[in-house]
Amino acid sequence: MAEKKKFNVEALKNTVKAGMEKIDVEGIKGKAESAGEVIKDKAGTAGEMIKDKAGIASDVIKEKAVELKDAAIQTKDDIQEKLTELDRMLDEEITNYNDAYTLMNDKGIMLFVERSRSVDTIENVKSLINSIANRPKTFDDEFEEIETNRRKFTDSCEFASRELDAARKAAGGAGAAIAAGASVAFLAPSAAMWVATTFGTSSTGVAIATLSGAAKTSAALAWLGGGSLVSGGGGMAAGNALLAMAGPVGWTIAGATLLSTIVIFAKKRAKLNAEKNEEIEKIKKNTESVKETDLRIKELLDETIKIRDGLNGVFRENLKLFGQDYNSISIEDKNTLGSLVNNTLTMSAMLNKTIE
C-alpha cells in the first residue's frame, strides 16, 4: 500500500498569501471606480433619454389627439350632410305620396261619377226591356264608393322638433351638472378636506396632514382658495362653495353627468334617425301601393266608360222596339235584345267590381 501524502496546510496558506500579495487591489479599485463612473454616466444619459422620450411621447400623443379631434369634427360635418340628405328624402317621399294619392283620389271620384251615370243607363235599358218583356225585369244597379284613406306621415319638421327637444333637455341636464357641484358645496365641506390633504401642502409650507382641527380646515380652504377666489375675496365661506365646484370634486360630478348626457343624447338621435329611415321606407311602400291602385282604378274607369258608351249606343239602336210585342219581333232583333240584356248585366257587374 502506497503512503498517504500528508496535507501541508502551512504550504497552502503561504501559497494563498503570496497569491494575494500579487493582486493589484488598488488597480481593481481604480477599475471599479471608472466602471462606476461609466455606469453613472450612462444612467444619467439613459435618464435624460427617458425624460426626452417622455417629452417626445407626450408631444406625439398630443399631436395624435389633435388629429383625432379634427377627424371627429370632420366626421360630424359628414354626419350633418347625410342627415340633411335623409331629411330631403323624407320630405320628397311625402310629396310623392301626396301627389300619387291626389291623382288616385281624382280618378276615384271620376269612377264614382261614371258609375252614377251607368246607373242611369241601366235604368233606361230596364225601361226598354220591361216595355217588351211579359214579366218585369230588374238589374242590379247598386254600388259602393271605393274607399281609400290618405295616410298621414311624420315629416322632417316633426323629427327636427323632437331632436331639438332632446338637445335642449341634454343642455339642461349639462347645466344641472354644474349645479350638482354647487349643491355638493352646500352639503359637503368635508369633501374639501380630502382634496387638500391628498394633493398638497398649505401655503405655510406645513403638510396639511400634520395639522389638526380648525387649523387644518383653514389651511386646506386657504390653500384651495389660493387666496383669490371670486372678486371680493370671500374667505372661508367662498372657499367652501368653490372648492367642490372648481376642483376635482366638481369636475368629477360634471364629467360624469356630461358623459351620460352625451351617451343618452346620442342614443336618442340614433333612435330618431332609425324612425326617420323607417318612415321613409313606409312612405315609399305606400306610394307604390297607391300607384298600383291608381292604375287599377284607371283601367276600371276606362272599361266602365267604354261599356257605358257602348250600351248607350245599343240602347238607342233598340229604341225602335220600345213597347212592341216580343213574339212579333224578328229573330235578328231578338238576338240584339239578347245582347242588350247581356251587356246590361256586364254593366251591373262592373259597378260591383272592387279594387283589391
Binding site: A54, E163, R168, G172, W194, A246, K267, E303
Partner: protein
Amino acid sequence: MSEKSLIKEITMEYIKSFPVYDEIKKYMEMVGQLQEAICIASSGNDDKTMLLIRIGTVLSLSIAGKMGTNGKMPEEFEREDWEDIAQAVLEYGVLMDGEKYTEFVFELYARYIEKCVEINKKELSISAQEEIKALADELRDLTRSLNKGQFSEADYVDRCLWVCFEAMIKLWASYGSGLLPEKLKKYGDLIPATADYAVQYARLKMYSKEKAILEEYLNNQEILTNELQAKLDVYIAELSGVSEQFNNLIKDAFDPNFRDKLMASVNLAKAAGVDEEIILDSEDKIDEFFN
C-alpha cells in the same frame, strides 16, 4: 338597458376610476337622484320637469355665486340676497327661451372652465392652462357659429357637450402636474395627453359609428327605390295584359260590324264575372227571358 340603468352604470364606472371616488360615494345618492331627475326630464315629454331642472340649476348656481361674492352661508343671506336670487331664477330659469337657455348653459361652462383654471393655477402646468382655456374659447366660437346659422341647435349642443367633457377630463388629468419639480414636468404632460387622446378617440368612434349607420340607411333606401320601381313595372305589365284582353272583348261586343254580336256579348259578360246561368247565350234563353 333602460336609460336609468345606463346613466347609473356610466356614472358609477366613470367615477370609480377617479381617486375622489371614496369621498364622492357618500354623495352618490344625491348625485344619483339628480341624474335620475335629469334622465326623467330627458326621456319624458314633460316640460314642467324640465322647467324644474332649470329652476334648480339657476337656484343652486345663484346661491353658490352669492356665497362666493359676499362670503356668507345661505342661512346668513338677507332679504335682498334672496330677492336677487329669485330674480335670477325668474330671468334665466323661467323666462329665457329654449335656444337662449342652451347658450346660457354653455356660456356658464366657458366661465366655469376659466374659473377652474384660474383657481387651480398652481396645480396646472402653463401649457395645460392654455389648452384648457382654449376650450372655453371654443365653446364661445361654437355659440357664434350657431348664431350665424352654421349649425342646428341640436348639432351645437352635441359639439358643446364634447368640448365641456374634454375640459373636465383635461382639468382632472392635468391637476397636480404644475406641482411637479421642473425635471419631472415632462412626465406630467403624458397623463393629460393620454387622457385627451382617449376622449378624442371615443368621440371619433361614436361619430364614425353614427356615420356608418346613416350611410347604410341611404344605401338601403336607394335599393328599396329600385325594388319598388321594378315591382311597379311588373304590375303594369301584368295589368296591361289582362286589360288588353278585356278591352278587345268590349270592342267586339259593341262593334256594329261584328258578325256574332250575341256571342260577343256573352263572352264579355263571362269575362266581367256575370253568373253564366243568367247570361242569354241562346235563342231559347232569350225567349224564356222575354216571355
